[in-house]
Amino acid sequence: MSMFLEIDNLRIDFCNYNNDFLLLKSDDKFKLRTIGKAIFEQKFDFVSQVIVTEVEICLQLNDKFNISKLQQLQNISQYEAPQPVQYTLPIYFENSEDWRQVEKVTGYSKSTVISKLQNANFSIVMFGFLPGFLYLEGLEKSLHVARKSIPSKHIAANSLAIGGQYLGFYALNSPGGWHVVGKSPISVLQIPQIPPVIFSLNDRLRFVPIQEKEYNSILNHRLSLEEYNAQTRDS
């Protein structure tokens, strides 16, 4: 059953799957993310899970749901979206096997790729597939490198990687098919705090290349993201 809602002047198409879950869709990805955040923060009593992806939001419904509750979703337009925050993350662009593939596919040298990454500003457009994993938008087309057909068994926590059109950040150790280009000495995961990840959707990230020595220094000082950003702002 496909219908639409109007939330915050945005037309949202939605489908009700047997009162088990709702899927909300829109072509305006930025606004959809903002609305997804708003729905999540409202903590509706008839919603047990809110999953926000780039083009679709899923609301898992519980037995408190009935059709009349959809009106509550409409009223989300009262929500004031917080401003996206700009962060800087230091990355040690360590040499690796994955760099050979990145150079091969892009046709650029490693230093050119790093220069391009450093000059771009990325947006966090999605969380998942694992807690702490970030999908980042803003990778220029010439840097797109398709994911591996056979994922590698182990990608270390705090790795930055290229996967197709996205830059990704792994906050946890995991297997993965993305091409690792570097690692950060700063951990973005803060389990068991809420939120589990320091960032919010739509926050922006810039990367600053650092060498191994600085990487180890920041790691040993256990600098937090806030501390690092305060430092770089003041210098």
């Binding site: 047990s48 899970q49 780039e54 899923c58 898992q60 969380f127 998942g128 807690p131 809420i194």
Partner: protein, 275 residues
């Protein structure tokens, strides 16, 4: 594979933290109810292979779920009954029969720290349960005793079901070929032993889809059936990831997941489309 579970942590899917929790809610709640314990208490969940547990204090326990041929000091004990153990008693069993997962509840509260309000173990992020991991030989669990002694309630045994799992069509069902739609609706499958709390890999009729890979990662929930390029469906389960790029061809309604999660590896079951 033995972990501590409870009814899981809802409401964190936004941060890609899945619900986790009991795979067979029905049997887990049955164990807690037998001991008159709150339904949000943690207990031990074991899959296929039973743990061997030595009790270093007297305890009352309840065993539910699959038949692991449980024994205490080598004498057989029944499922779905309150069992009293003495100091030094050893609980042991054999690989599960006619089911896959078993539950061991203790008349008391396990001394564990909740994470995000739940004792459920989520292995990928190493949170919850006992140190965020599988229980292994040498581990020690303690509990604070319940203040009451549980009395045997009137509980009927779970009726033996032929494994018929209800299914509803998913968001990408229409991309299945006509033949595949019909096949799935009444499909016979087996669960591969290469399955875990994140997902069950099914073996059976190969399905074909006009969109082998979605353009974007889309949301998924436990019970969703994905179709990877191999044509062999995957059922996402309680520890599964919250988004994915494979077509979501169908889903098992939440209330039937308990039953699905008791189907032994390699045993044939049948889907039944509910529309």
């Amino acid at each position: 594979m033995t972990t501590i579970q409870d009814n899981g942590r809802l409401g964190l899917g936004f941060y890609a933290v899945p619900q986790a929790g009991f795979m067979d809610v029905y049997s887990a709640q049955q164990a807690l109810t037998l001991l008159n314990l709150p339904l949000d208490y943690p207990l031990i969940e074991c899959t296929f292979l039973p743990p061997q547990i030595k009790f270093k204090a007297p305890a009352q326990i309840a065993l539910t779920g699959a038949d692991f041929n449980w024994t205490i000091d080598n004498r057989g004990v029944e499922l779905r009954k309150i069992i009293t153990l003495n100091c030094g008693d050893v609980l042991a069993g054999q690989p599960a029969k006619s089911g896959l997962r078993g539950y061991i509840a203790i008349n008391g509260k396990l001394n564990l720290k909740p994470v995000y309000g739940s004792y459920a173990t989520y292995l990928n992020a190493k949170i919850g349960g006992f140190k965020g991991r599988l229980l292994r030989a040498g581990d020690s669990l303690t509990w604070s005793n319940s203040t009451h002694v549980a009395k045997q309630p009137d509980l009927h045994s779970q009726p033996l079901k032929r494994f018929i799992i209800p299914l509803k069509s998913g968001p990408e069902f229409q991309y299945l070929s006509q033949e595949s739609q019909i096949q799935l609706a009444g499909g016979r499958y087996k669960i591969s032993a290469d399955s875990n709390r994140m997902g069950a890999r099914l073996l059976g009729f190969k399905l074909t889809c006009s969109r082998p890979q979605l353009n974007y990662s889309l949301p998924v929930l436990p019970g969703f059936v994905q179709l990877p390029p191999s044509g062999q469906p995957i059922v996402l389960l309680q520890d599964g990831q919250v988004s994915g790029g494979y077509p979501r061809i169908a889903y098992i309604p939440t209330s039937y997941l308990s039953e699905f999660n008791q189907i032994p590896f390699g045993v044939e079951f049948k889907f039944k489309m509910l529309e």
